[in-house]
């Protein structure tokens, strides 16, 4: 996915929304900027498939040498898939953050959270501050 076409949370998650069989699915990852800032990632705790998540609440944790960080859900919904290849290949998060580095897919039950996301240029601006 092209980073210019994604939307971003202030907390550095990227989101791509697609339609699958009449339901909206949000694919979520973390931005290259976030991966760069975290550096030295050693562990990711993926959410369980079926987990109910809430917009702007932590739903996943990523551990670097220095610290543990939360990853926030951008929308209300249910986790329908997780990238099970990630825990054994964390370098994917930096090598291909917007493609193979996706973290989870959430079936959206309430898309109000989407309105709070930034477009690419607004997110870039936030990162430069």
């Amino acid at each position: 996915m092209k980073q210019e076409d994604l939307r971003y949370a202030k907390t550095h998650e990227w989101v791509a929304v697609s339609e699958e069989g009449g339901t909206q699915i949000a694919t979520v990852g973390i931005s290259a900027f976030a991966v760069e800032a975290l550096t030295d990632l050693v562990f990711i705790e993926l959410p369980a498939v079926g987990k109910q998540v809430e917009a702007e609440q932590p739903f996943c944790e990523v551990e670097s040498v220095k610290a543990v960080s939360d990853i926030y859900a951008p929308v209300d919904g249910e986790v329908v898939a997780v990238n099970t290849a990630l825990p054994d290949a964390l370098e994917t998060l930096s090598n291909d953050p917007y493609g193979a580095g996706w973290i989870a897919k959430i079936k959206i039950t309430n898309d109000a959270g989407l309105a709070n996301l930034l477009d690419y240029s607004a997110y870039q601006k936030q990162c430069q501050e």
């Binding site: 550096t39 030295d40 050693v42 562990f43 705790e45 944790e61 551990e63 040498v65």
Partner: protein, 372 residues
């Protein structure tokens, strides 16, 4: 504290120009990393890492009573220190609580003559220790001089540190034994060179006049780069010292902790001398119930961070004081204080990491010891 209120080391501009990610540490703006903690950590374990440690407090102690005065302040004997010698020691209060852990130097000139004493203290304790030292000064003829700002300090650490430094240092580094030091010319600048460090590797720490530090540092770092050496920030300094089982003040040590439970008996000389805290420490030696510092190895990859509760069965047995992911061993390690019944190596424990229990066990310290 905003950035413009932070103290800057003489290498501040160098750090900023070389990608240093600057953070606040003990009132100083310091690089936490340049390229990455793991990369910098490995460079130190396999080649040489260069550390700006100018934030550490440096105090000279001179005068006719200097030795006797320091002997009263430090848990380790000072009066019998020979020229060149350096000792790791603690400064305790009357109740045996640790005020700081320090290096005490028998300052020795290039010609081998001793010239007073020096202390290197933790950055965060500098003002506290200076006040404490002044308060204990009344019965002694001594002069204290805080040279933290007039001098900087850097460390070169790693298996190739000595060979890299050697051509730039006027004294014979290979014959400078571990925990000794002296005045020497480094790149033609008069410095104090010691065979000490905080990484578990061989190497030196060098005290250098502030205005000449950048020039000296740049020459040595260029030489270090020829063997894949590099500048190392506080992030890797922490992972290195943790692997080496070395305590960090504010984490493993503070005024509520005594030297016995910290496992620092080697830094306490109780016989035939008196010092502040001695009586209390004697008492702690007989207390076999107090919690003690241990190493913790986690199963899995979750890192137990400072403050994480440690459980023995369903009882809380202690808490983590420092934890990280060990780049050398590729699994999480931690130090903790646990109750005496949970302190034996091999004891199976659990660590509560953000509400979830993870299996762990007590292991001997240090985690890492370099090959001799």
């Amino acid at each position: 504290m905003s950035n413009d209120q932070l103290a800057q080391t003489p290498l501040f501009d160098w750090h900023c120009a070389h990608g240093g990610r600057m953070v606040e540490f003990a009132g100083w703006s310091m690089p936490v990393q340049y390229t990455g903690i793991v990369e910098e950590h490995q460079a130190t374990r396999t080649a040489v890492g260069m550390f700006d440690i100018s934030h550490m407090g440096r105090v000279l102690v001179n005068g006719p009573d200097a030795a006797r005065y320091l002997d009263r302040l430090l848990t380790r004997a000072v009066v019998d220190m020979k020229p060149h010698q350096i000792r790791y020691s603690l400064i305790c209060n009357e109740t045996g609580g640790i005020l700081d852990d320090v290096l005490c130097y028998r300052v020795t000139l290039e010609n081998g003559e001793p010239s007073g004493y020096g202390l290197v203290v933790n950055a965060g304790n500098r003002h506290k220790i200076l006040s404490w030292m002044e308060a204990q000064q009344t019965d002694f003829d001594v002069q204290l001089e805080d040279i933290t700002n007039t001098y900087g300090m850097f460390a070169a650490q790693g298996p190739r540190a000595i060979e890299i430094l050697d051509p730039y240092v006027s004294c014979e580094l290979t014959s400078l034994r571990y925990y000794t030091g002296q005045v020497a010319q480094v790149c033609g600048v008069e410095c104090f060179v010691s065979r000490t460090g905080y990484t578990g590797e061989d190497g030196c720490e060098i005290v250098c006049p502030a205005e000449q530090l950048t020039g000296v540092w740049e020459q040595i770092i260029q030489a270090a780069a020829t063997v894949e050496g590099r500048a190392v920030g506080l992030g890797a300094r922490d992972t290195l010292r943790l692997e080496a089982g070395m305590p960090l003040y504010g984490h493993e040590l503070d005024e509520t902790i005594n030297p016995v439970q910290a496992g620092l008996d080697f830094a306490v000389n109780l016989r035939d001398r008196d010092f502040i805290g001695r009586e209390a420490i004697l008492g702690f030696q007989r207390d076999h119930k107090q919690s003690v510092r241990v190493g913790i190895q986690m199963e899995g990859k979750r890192v137990a961070r400072e403050g994480a509760p440690i459980l023995l069965g369903d009882q809380q047995a202690g808490a983590v004081t420092s934890g990280t992911f060990s780049p050398t061993f590729n699994h999480p390690i931690a130090m903790a204080y646990v109750c005496s019944s949970a302190a034996a190596p091999g004891t199976p424990l659990a660590v509560d990491v953000r509400g979830k229990e993870h299996p762990a066990q007590v292991v001997p310290l240090p985690f890492y010891e370099r090959g001799k």
